[in-house]
């Protein structure tokens, strides 16, 4: 009997259509593009701030445009989804053992959501929202 195994290649560009879970994974990864783009926007804002009042005002005016508002809404949604996927993953990456038992995973992930909410409230407070 000859041994001639058949090798089936994983399609390098279409593999993520094979399973819904792969699409969920890709959607998580794609959200990082928005997160990265928003970071670039923040750096540009800092640069404009350092360039003087006129440059800063022009930057703020640009942020009020319709395109900018749409981008910010998309970036907020993407960042929230991205954060949620990682908060949900914390219970896998950082299990806490007390004696023979492990702290329930929901508590670990939940603590991150609580910290997220508290820090967001603090930042909004410092920004003068309320």
């Amino acid at each position: 009997m000859s041994r001639r195994p058949l090798v089936r290649e994983c399609p390098p560009t279409t593999w993520y259509f094979r399973q819904p879970r792969y699409l969920r994974y890709m959607s998580r990864e794609i959200t990082s593009i928005f997160v990265g783009a928003y970071c670039v926007l923040l750096v540009v804002g800092l640069q404009r701030l350092s360039a003087g009042p006129a440059a800063w005002e022009a930057f703020l005016l640009g942020l009020r445009s319709a395109d900018s508002i749409v981008f910010h809404l998309l970036a907020l949604a993407a960042a929230s989804y991205h954060a949620a996927t990682w908060f949900n993953a914390t219970q896998k990456a950082m299990p806490v053992q007390i004696g023979e038992d492990f702290v329930p995973g929901n508590l670990i992930s939940g603590a991150h959501y609580v910290a997220w909410a508290v820090l967001s409230a603090v930042i909004l407070y410092l920004a003068g929202v309320f």
Partner: protein, 289 residues
């Protein structure tokens, strides 16, 4: 190995309304006519794989493995596949069932509608029909040294290496792996980058790193903390979703990324931070209570 033409199944009229229609039998368990589309490949005669469809009468409570056994016994004795225990323990009968890595002894026919497509495990070379070549996995398994490497060797006369229940619980989940390779079939990173050590082997490395009796973490890190090791993992998480033993390899790999990162920080950013791997190893395997 012969490849004689399939024998015909005992006559049975296909009921209307689908491939897996129920055939109720008074006084007994119900039967159903199930259609399976099975990937066939004969290395002696074929240059590529093809699908062959079978119709087989099955009991309602049967699993896909039962249907394959029925096909082999009554319809086509040339069909090849692996199985042993029929109770989700041995890990031999892993297959792609409707595109999902499953133990065929754990895939109940009643959970499927229409034609059930059965293929060999993805990402592994196909030896024949549903039989894959596990050589790559076996080689990688050996590389991570999946056995206790005692911190301090002692003669048998000094007795056993003792362990508290808490120390056992730290790694017990990761010791439940049955080497079924479903996680490799589910992992797109392994499919795209075959040099990736992969979920099960890395999880077993983690299992022994966490063992209080073990002192081999530094040796394993030579394999684990590399681009072929945990850093090839992008946390798709499919390995944990398909694991029939609930081992959760994704969690093991993320934990190893954290400890490997701590190693790097201690070794490169903290003055005098030598032997970080040994330090973390002692923390991993040390007393808990």
């Amino acid at each position: 190995m012969s490849n004689s033409p399939p024998r015909s199944q005992p006559p049975l009229a296909a009921p209307p309304g689908g491939a897996a229609a129920s055939l109720g039998r008074p006084g007994g368990s119900s039967e159903r006519l199930v259609q399976l589309e099975v990937l066939r490949y004969n290395p002696d005669t074929d240059t590529e794989a093809r699908f062959q469809r079978y119709e087989v009468v099955c009991q309602e409570e049967w699993v896909v493995l039962d249907a394959l056994n029925k096909i082999k016994a009554d319809i086509d004795p040339t069909l090849n596949y692996r199985w042993s225990c029929h109770m989700a323990v041995c890990g031999s009968c892993g297959m792609m069932i409707n595109g999902e890595p499953k133990l065929s002894c754990h895939a109940f026919l009643r959970e499927y509608e229409g034609v059930i497509r059965v293929e060999p495990l993805a990402h592994f070379p196909v030896e024949r029909d549903l039989v894959t070549a596990p050589d790559d996995f076996m080689e990688k398994l050996k590389r991570v040294k999946p056995y206790v490497i005692p911190k301090e060797k002692k003669p048998i006369s000094e007795g056993e290496y003792k362990q508290t229940p808490a120390q056992l619980m730290k790694f017990r989940q990761y010791s439940m792996c049955i080497n079924c390779m479903l996680c490799y079939a589910a992992c797109p990173q392994y499919g795209l980058t075959p040099t990736f050590i992969g979920p099960a082997a890395l999880t077993l490395a983690h299992r022994y790193n966490l063992d209080s009796r073990d002192g081999g973490r530094k040796e394993r890190q030579e394999i684990v903390a590399t681009h072929e090791g945990v850093w090839e993992c992008t946390f798709v998480g499919a390995c944990s979703e398909v694991c029939p033993a609930h081992v959760d390899p994704a969690s093991a790999l993320q934990q190893m990324k954290i400890t490997s990162s701590i190693d790097w920080i201690v070794e490169h950013l903290i003055p005098g931070g030598k032997s970080a791997r040994d330090t973390v190893s002692r923390e991993d395997a040390g007393d808990i209570s």
